[in-house]
Assembly symmetry: none
Homo-oligomer: 211 residues x 4
DNA sequence: CATGAATGAGAGTTCATTCAT
DNA sequence: GATGAATGAACTCTCATTCAT
């Protein structure tokens, strides 16, 4: 190995490492989508790669860890879009509508992430508790709480509200995927109308709205 | 050996068989709830029983099969209650309210069934496609369609509506379970208000409701 | 159960026992022929019967034991024919010819017994050491020794001679079965000519034939 | 790591692999000889080795596969000797004599290969249909056909002739093994005399031998 | 004596993980 | 850091056998 090669090695190494990590993540996404999380083995993931079995353990400790990383990776790609949407929104209604639209668009264009759930006899939808995902949910809840504080929506339990919104979003997304005649636009309009209508009909809780 | 004896003989055998089958189902429910479906092995289930390993295979062919049986078993217990509720309901509003209340009550009192989902890094909620479960969903959708046909609710896509209702129900149930300060009653009221409000706010599709 | 029935029970029992034993033997012969000895399980044999699994053990201790019984059964059917042939034979040549002809006829008409060997990745031919089978071989060797003592054939090692005769018989039978254009007659003529020719060409051993 | 090191690395790995494969084959040969093919389990083979259970499956998929490999291995060792013998033979008689002698010598010195059959309640002799073994038989038949074509032996069915020769060889070998007073030399002389005598006594089929 | 469910040893096999190269 | 064979615990499942009915 020449000195020149050695000089560049550091840079190349880093690059290779990043590539390998990404190769594993990509393979995992594909394999999870095909076999389902439970049925997938670390071997399956490595086989879908041109790396050696031992190499896997230089990057991840277990199947769980790749899965988590995959979740974070997905959340990392959605959150900026949702954040942009939130900033753009002038009213509460626009915020809700934008959030739903962004979510359904994402799901439509990133099939594998949700395909994973469909294929799966055991997964209904991806478990949602990696740091990144939780952070995304927290942002949503914070926004709902702000809306409540600002009096633009009735004073209800923000947790339950978030749960309802998330439930509608994921379940409708599921149907959208399995039925070709429902566009992201359709899904978003339906969910928005339902949810906003529901929110406005909710009874106030306790804290009276300040005049 | 008298004929009477024969009758009793068959009776005892049959009884033991029924007991064993139930013992396996019960053990499976507990173990799935504790370890999650994917992590559970057939051995785990047998270990939670006082039967021998081979005995499992006299009743079920695989882990999948017990799981399916468990699903059906659960659906079989909820459906009659929901059906009763539906019959009792005089108005569409009562139907929705009754359905949510029944569901949350059931979940509250039958923790394991849903606990199973919580613990699970892979399951969000139980996969919903055994015959019994699908039948339950179909009943719900049929009712929604009837309501639409009778003009008591806007003419929207019954599939999406069912999805939304199911999404709200399961996700809110999840939150109810993880938070001790939310009663089944609270959850039902919240879900009912949100959903009914949302439904009424939905835009008409084609057939205008008669004034 | 009436008194009359009881009276006849003893006789019937014996009959049933014999029937069951035979049913198991027949089933075993069929199953061995289909699956091969090694692959066959006791379960397979019972399944081919309309008896219950436990009943098997009232008649045989193991798969091996049925197999032995089957061997004996077969030997028991061939030996009388061979003995008759031996008695009828006026000369040594007729004895050999008759023996081969009888053997090949039997194999041709009792396919299963040999089909068992053919199908079998592990059996070349049936193991030949149940009492009945050994007895059959002993008879053959005794006859060969008598022939030697009587000077109608060269004085050679009767053991080796028997081995050669048996080897030719079984191996040629194998070919006869797998090729439809070879009749029992053909096989017998070939084997007889070869064996007799060979025997006459054998060098004398020690005991000079008395003039 | 230098290039030299690399070379050695590969060398060591390859060597270990070859050793392990051979270790498994050797163990299998011993265990088959002791317990018989049917009674032998994969675990038995591994136990006779200092390898771990999983390692077996890096080399063979099943017990059958080791057995086949063993067969081929044996055939691979005999065939060259038989071929050499055939080339050396100046006459048909020498060819037959040489073949028998080589075969009995081999069996005498490579006990295990045939011991396997003896011990076996199910195996009379090793099943003979791996590619290598069949090839060996085909060579023999081709030689017999050549001999017939050249008129050095009567024009008979080469298949049956081969069967007879094989039958004599294996059966006599069996007796040789179980009786200590029969040398390979004795067996070969006996078999050669018998077989050659027999062949010369066979009736002509169609093509009359030129005077 | 027939029955057939229960038993549990053990066979075959897979897999996450380690570690010499 | 990459490699891939070795490891052995653990899993699924089958089967001969027993024994209450």
């Amino acid at each position: 190995m020449s000195i020149e090669a050695d000089v560049k090695t550091r840079g190349k190494r880093e690059e290779t490492k990043a590539n390998n990590r990404q190769a594993i993540l990509d393979a995992a996404r594909r394999v999870f989508a095909e076999l389902g999380y439970g049925a997938t083995t670390v071997r399956d993931i490595i086989r879908a790669t041109d790396l050696a079995s031992g190499t896997f353990y230089n990057y991840f400790k277990s199947k769980e860890e790749v899965f988590q990383a995959l979740q974070d990776d997905t959340a990392l790609r959605v959150r900026p879009r949702l954040r942009a949407e939130r900033i753009r929104a002038a009213t509460f209604e626009e915020f809700i509508a934008g959030t739903f639209r962004t979510f359904f668009d994402f799901v439509k264009n990133d099939q594998t992430s949700l395909a994973t759930m469909r294929r799966n006899p055991e997964l209904q939808r991806m478990r949602i508790d990696t740091p990144e995902v939780i952070a995304g949910f927290e942002e949503l809840r914070a926004d709902l709480e702000t809306a409540i504080r600002n009096g633009v929506m009735p004073d209800t339990d923000a947790d339950l509200l978030m749960a309802a919104m998330v439930g509608v979003a994921f379940e409708v997304a599921n149907h959208m995927i399995s039925r070709s005649d429902v566009s992201a636009q359709d899904a978003a309009e339906f969910a928005t109308a339902l949810f906003l209508g529901g929110v406005h009909a909710l009874p106030k809780r306790k804290r009276p709205k300040a005049t």
